[in-house]
Symmetry: C2
Subunit: 470 residues, 2 copies
């Protein structure tokens, strides 16, 4: 990061902290740009950048000829939902019809608040194209051959990046896959059989629920806090009852609930898994999208025995269509490698090389820095819009990373119906019901803020808010 | 095909037929080029091309100042092995150690007779690179997006090509996959559960045996004829005994035994499957590598009820590292699509588009024509070399397509030992034992002729033949 960029963000973050703590209140005038320059010893353009940033976050507004004013305060944000209390039942109810409707009709919407895919405008397409061309030049035989040992450039970079979060992975620990879902699929099918039970957070990404169902697993949905993630006590109890064969957690900025497990929780989960000898599949594909100063740790950070199978990808940050993912399966490496070999042999040589070189030359980190900033701003804009437009009793998560908000509406609101009404305005939202195999979360919805914020989205949120009021 | 090319091949094939039928014998002089020109009404260069082709096939040799002479005759080829009589047992023996040794040490060999991969010299790399660049240009957002509905260009071409073999597939029938193994994996896991039995040909490609084992299936290895494929009577009996849940056949030019089921057998198999309501997974990835005048049919050709799941890929003909495969799952389309979605979501956008456009503009057919010719010649060179160098009691298959020979040596020869001795000469062969889950085929080996034929390979075959003599 250039020093000047760093400084403007520091200034913006300090002011945001003051707004959060109510030191600066709505309507307060911010110090003049000249004052900022003098106090912080920065150039006028740096001071301006800091204020633009705050404006983009929806926290301040400029009034012509007058200066910048606080336009919003965190304390006005809606409350955070409580810990989920999922129904405990092993039989599952089919929601394929809702699911299909939502995801097949996504194309008919003008505003997509339901999809967890970063739009192309926020991705470095030209640089990726160059990386593809370079891959055909750099790979032996232009990459028509099998990627027999996994792309070594990519593997090395994943290992190097793991040093930032205490993962300390070696190249030998890592198996590349076609995206994160394939990694999860290999882990689950390597370590469980039909009829086994897998414990997960609740609400949980439907893709994982569908995969578990497809493998014939029973899914135990456990209470989850929107800030700290899975409830340790509940997990501990089911482990002690010897109920579960496998556990899968999205430890950082999960879809849809956005929680980020505190370090102490991560440590404790790993300890519990070791004690009960239950493998933990850690789906960690959102961790790089943190809004704070550094990437959170993972459960894998605290894994000394190899009980954690750590999975990731670039599908949420770079190029979903390249199908590049990975897993560090700990002590289950042999089994997972065997499963990969049996089921698909190898991954796509060219796209794996392209991502490997993209990571190698620092382009990924550059890109991520910008993307994080965009998502952080968007999250605040969404918070503000929801506070302005949605009913008072709406609860909404306040994630510190990722791209999802979990919105809990009044119990009387049926979000499948809300979805149908919103679609009449060509706005797609994701009904909460699809994030569980049980009949619950009917008054919830997920919204994704992975997009370019604009007036149209603000208007769409206004419409949904109005519809939610009944 | 250009007309002139067509004519020279016709001439070569006619002469080969005469050699086969012993009309032309070893030592006979071929008509002069001038005579051919007059008789066939062709140019001198076409006549020359025909004779070069026969020379490349190892059937004739030119003597300076004298002309062309028959140097070899089919009747001298070694006998074809009999129908396999596989051990019927459900327990499996582990051959992972042999398997690992053979496949991990392949890189240490100078001459690879074990691998079923077309070498880069025989693949159109420059044109494929161009197709990749075009794909980043033609795809929306340069292919960074998910390939949500499967590449439509590719799907259309697969459907069009199916008209040549009576498949009559529509775009809607086809699901794209990351190579053929993934297609097989989706089919198997969609239609069977741990403990079910799957019937296959024997010997059978180890990848499929490993996959079945990985899914917890019992594998019933059935007697197979090197010319006509699986023995219908044996298949019928196991169907009547209600023993099998699923059947998997490589109907055309299978690895390793190279058989090609006659149309009547294909019809009958489909009838049996329908009668007993047992799905047939047809692994048809070698069919385009026919040596004759046209592609053989598939079982799918005769499938009216949708009981056949027809799988293919370009991994054996074009670009294994692109991971492009497909399946037409018949009436099981919904299940297989669901399995794909759950396990890996989508395939790699760019490489699928590249292959789609490669097929679309006719480059694939051009390439295949050359590749088939090379493989046909190689198969005859291998036949000749084995007849010259291997013990008299050696039996070897005479495939009409594909790239594999199945060699049956004297019962006393242990081909794992032979493998070890050959590796001392840096020659890699594939021991027969790895093509079964039972303890059998210990005196057999598979050789692949997917390569550029040269003196070094001839010498390698000489060495292996000598070692086989003891």
């Amino acid at each position: 990061m250039k020093e000047s960029e760093f400084i403007y963000l520091q200034i913006a973050n300090t002011i945001e902290e003051q707004i959060k703590k109510d030191v600066l209140k709505v309507g307060d005038k911010l110090p003049s740009l000249r004052t900022i320059c003098q106090e912080k010893g920065v150039s006028l353009s740096t001071a301006q950048q800091a204020y633009f940033e705050l404006e983009n976050r929806g926290l301040v507004e400029s009034r012509p000829q007058s200066g910048y004013y606080i336009s919003f305060a965190h304390k006005h944000f809606r409350n955070i939902p409580g810990t989920s209390q999922p129904v405990v039942a092993m039989n599952t109810e089919n929601v394929d019809d809702i699911f299909s409707a939502v995801y097949l009709n996504a194309g008919k919407a003008d505003v997509l608040l339901s999809t967890s895919i970063i739009p192309p405008e926020l991705l470095p397409i030209a640089k990726l194209n160059k990386a593809i061309v370079n891959a055909t030049r750099d790979l032996p035989n232009s990459g028509i051959n099998y990627d027999r040992y996994g792309n070594q450039k990519l593997i090395k970079q994943i290992a190097l990046r793991s040093l930032h979060w205490g993962g300390e992975l070696n190249a030998n620990d890592i198996i590349t896959t076609s995206g994160c879902m394939e990694a999860l699929s290999f882990c689950m099918s390597s370590l469980s059989e039909k009829g086994d039970t897998i414990a997960v957070e609740s609400p949980m990404y439907y893709g994982i629920l569908h995969l578990a169902k497809n493998l014939g697993l029973n899914v135990l949905e456990l209470p989850t806090n929107p800030v700290t993630g899975i409830e340790l006590e509940a997990l501990k109890k089911s482990l002690e009852r010897n109920q579960i064969r496998l556990c899968l957690l999205v430890s950082n900025f999960s879809n849809p609930i956005g929680s980020c497990m505190p370090d102490e929780h991560k440590k404790e989960v790993v300890r519990l898994m070791e004690k009960h000898n239950v493998p933990l599949i850690e789906d960690d594909l959102f961790a790089d999208l943190y809004f704070g100063n550094q990437r959170p740790t993972s459960c894998k950070t605290y894994d000394e025995s190899g009980i954690v199978l750590w999975c990731g990808s670039v599908s949420k940050t770079l190029a979903p269509g390249y199908r590049v993912g990975w897993v560090a399966p700990g002590k289950f490496r042999g089994k997972v490698a065997q499963t990969k070999y049996c089921h698909t042999l190898y991954s796509t040589s060219i796209t794996h090389e392209a991502v490997g070189s993209f990571l190698e030359n620092g382009r990924y980190e550059n890109h991520l820095r910008k993307l994080r900033q965009t998502l952080h701003r968007n999250s605040l804009q969404f918070q503000r819009a929801i506070s302005e437009y949605f009913p008072e009793d709406t609860r909404v998560t306040r994630p510190h990373g990722g791209m999802h908000l979990w919105v809990e509406l009044n119990k009387k609101v049926d979000t499948v119906e809300l979805y149908n009404r919103a679609m009449k305005h060509k706005i797609s939202i994701a009904p909460g019901r699809t994030y569980s195999l049980q009949n619950q979360y009917n008054n919830c919805l997920k919204m994704s803020f992975g997009m370019v914020w604009n007036e149209k989205i603000d208007s769409a949120l206004k419409v949904v808010g109005k519809l939610a009021r009944g």
